[in-house]
Symmetry: C2
Amino acid sequence: MPRSRDAARANLENLYRIFTVPEAPDSTLGAIDQAITDDVAGFLQTHIVAIERNLEAIEANFSSFTIPEEPTYVSEYTEFVKENLVAHSVHTAAPGFVGHMTSALPYFMLPLARLMTALNQNLVKVETSKAFTPMERQVLAMLHHLVYRRADDFYPPWIHNSQHALGAFCSGGTIANVTALWVARNRLFAPDGAFRGIAQEGLASALKHRGADGIAVLVSERGHYSFGKAADLLGIGRDNLIKVQTDAHNRIDLKLLREECRRLQGRNILPLAIVGIAGTTETGNVDPLETLADFAQELGCHFHVDAAWGGPTLFSDRYRSLLAGIERADSVTIDAHKQLYVPMGAGMVVFKDPTALSAIEHHANYILRHGSKDLGSHTLEGSRPGMSMLVHAGFSIIGRKGYELLIDMGIERAKTFANMIRHHPDFELTSEPELNILTYRYAPPAVQQALEKAPAHHCTAINALLDQVCMLLQKYQREAGKTFVSRTRLRMARYGEELTVLRVVLANPLTSYEILEGVLEEQCEIVHQPEIQALLCQMEEMLQCEPKPVAGEGNLKKVAW
Amino acid sequence: MPRSRDAARANLENLYRIFTVPEAPDSTLGAIDQAITDDVAGFLQTHIVAIERNLEAIEANFSSFTIPEEPTYVSEYTEFVKENLVAHSVHTAAPGFVGHMTSALPYFMLPLARLMTALNQNLVKVETSKAFTPMERQVLAMLHHLVYRRADDFYPPWIHNSQHALGAFCSGGTIANVTALWVARNRLFAPDGAFRGIAQEGLASALKHRGADGIAVLVSERGHYSFGKAADLLGIGRDNLIKVQTDAHNRIDLKLLREECRRLQGRNILPLAIVGIAGTTETGNVDPLETLADFAQELGCHFHVDAAWGGPTLFSDRYRSLLAGIERADSVTIDAHKQLYVPMGAGMVVFKDPTALSAIEHHANYILRHGSKDLGSHTLEGSRPGMSMLVHAGFSIIGRKGYELLIDMGIERAKTFANMIRHHPDFELTSEPELNILTYRYAPPAVQQALEKAPAHHCTAINALLDQVCMLLQKYQREAGKTFVSRTRLRMARYGEELTVLRVVLANPLTSYEILEGVLEEQCEIVHQPEIQALLCQMEEMLQCEPKPVAGEGNLKKVAW
């Protein structure tokens, strides 16, 4: 069958081509590439469609479940990507996209990321990364120094030490947090006499050795969901992730924390770790780290600080003190793809004790040999890309002072936005910004007044309606595609119940005050939507049928709505 | 102090610049970017230094542990990167780099990777990824179909199902394997009456509920080191990762596997999972998957297949049958950054039962809400980049037939190289290639003959010297930088002991037969190094002082060396 032989040869030639012949500059992909090189913001603005398409409609373009038999031309595929993937992506870099923790990237990150991809180094071992290994070790040392500020003579023996690593570079904060608790668990149950350690013998044997019925991690109710995953993964159980209620400032309630610890003791459960949060995901507040450090010391347990978001505040001379006590943490998580402005997929965890990671050390015959400098022997992940190069680039090009400016601007912008909200009659600030995150909700003046006067248990019905308004407001705004805020549910000490609130994260240096005013203006427009108006009318009726307080009885004797 | 105010303003302006002004095409970074666009292979060839520099010398450039105070010009930093990072990287894409699993990338991956970086989508939730979520769900369905080939009407209800996911996209095979065993563990200890499941109550409570003393995972001694990490992480303990010896073909010994299972039963330890390997990391062999599936069924335990390397063999009509039985696995790991030719940082695990991932499901208030299509509710990782786009691109542009060609060429190239080694007097093939990986070692003819005649226990001394030769050979070759093979230690059934061997992975389509001949020729040159010659002389002396067999006593009565 000469025809099929010809086809096979043609296939083979095509195959060699894709490995050897670069994209021509005038090809579709070449043109896109050039457009992004020239002006990524312009490219994204032009190509990301502002009007939201229904998710189900997008799914229709991604519904075949068979891998195509025949190859496709790169140009044809690129057209598909442009129309169906790029056009319906989220413009995370837009200055009006203030709802999540992903924001703009400095321009130099793109060509450097391409260089990184082209080099395709694998950081699991020196043999496939060479200079990238010392570079990543340096990045970890720099981060360690940022957090712990150890003396100058501390670092030289550890930075390139073949037995140890000052931290672990991870795909993100979740793996960083898991790694921290994994280390804490393995250190709590280290080899001891005949007991060969939890890594070797497992959790059941470890508990038996210590005569305990379980281990627990304590964190505030604002803790990131990764701690729930970690508790599950590490065999601790989600029941033993003790979520301590927060005070009015979204910080862990220390009295309740002490009570929880006493309860654990009564149940013969060992405290494994206390987690402090330096920038909660939802409100950006910082736990009292000094006090937590004292308490962890008192208990003799691991103290982990999740500074995935707020860690880079340490760059700021003005605001660094907000994180005072972080240098006493046994481990600290900081995400690079958040406030270090590195593309998605980069997190780190550093350990105060440079030998801590030995607790999870592992080796293999073909790599990670004893005495090698392979970073893979101290990471949860195996093969990993050279993302640390982009952190190195950020540290070098932006510098400490550049990051300081970014941090200071974000915090000040959040204060200003909080003031705008406070002075706007139709909005209620639901959490004061401490770093650059705040929450608020839509609540017309009459409703705000009514809520203030009413006793807490009478507010439930009104709050339920406001929750619905909030949800719809966020949905309509997201769908309109001009600006974007996110939403969450927070238990608010004031009402003693969970409310739906809008959440704003101010990390993009290009987010101007005009844009923030625009966010509120747009929301005031959106509430004219019939669906929301119906809810507001319902609310008004409620307020009207509220009986006037009987003279002499004061506000407390209202009939429940 | 007007000077410092001016400096601050200048800093601020610089900061805005890096977020708004693209690199000029004539800047250093612009030029590098263009050079990579034009011809990445050429760029790497020109810039990656062939002669190995001492690691300690490289470390000197990465030894400062303080983050620079002041910003650096992008051009200055780029020069640094070129001279100190690029120049001393490993040219993983070179056709002579046949030692590890990282090889060349098709050209189109680079501009598409840049597009992915520029879009900076976060796959944890639809709100920050939109079209990327359906795209990733499609990629997982395609991989599921490749492995399980379920009927056409199976997929539509599951592919975009808001309650479920057919698999999880991960940063790599390690997280994929951990995810598989995590799911297996949580399904073994699912909620049952008053017991609320291991995710909630933890491992100790789970074991008590089942009245068991532990759980175990069984895998051959060739299993990837990620299973050790998983056993540690999940609280199982490395002792309970039972590494079953392999037969002469590096496949799990079924008789020994049954014996191990009986032993576990005697110790009241539940078998959690049997792991079959489809392409061992060191030798590329495939376990008897059908038989393992039968056995797992008999035991009623989870059957996981680690096809991180060999999975794409399923593309090949000719070789697919090597993996027969994989469709009976409860979960299968396949790495995209290996034989799907995607840049570093992409692995996947798919589950036969589309509801399996519910066992590790998690939610949070601000994202991953119940009923959302957010992929993050079923992954170990949190925020993740849109790497699945590059798998989608590979599937579309290369197509099933293109991947088939790559697989077939690799396997055939390995067979040919095995023949070259077999026919070369100075080398000994230590593992037959089944897929595209093989191992061999340097052993002069006289030594090979002596080893053949000598009883196994007499070979130890000679093998120890050959191990040293092997180690030096690999080191010198790596340092010369022309070609690269890796090395590992394998227990060889024939000698009953571990040997050091050279390991070759043949995945780069540009690796020609001439290059492979060159690898052997270079090695024959390297053995003339004085250090290796000294070892060979020592070996020769050993062979000479070996006493001639006494007449009538045969070969068995030799004096031990």
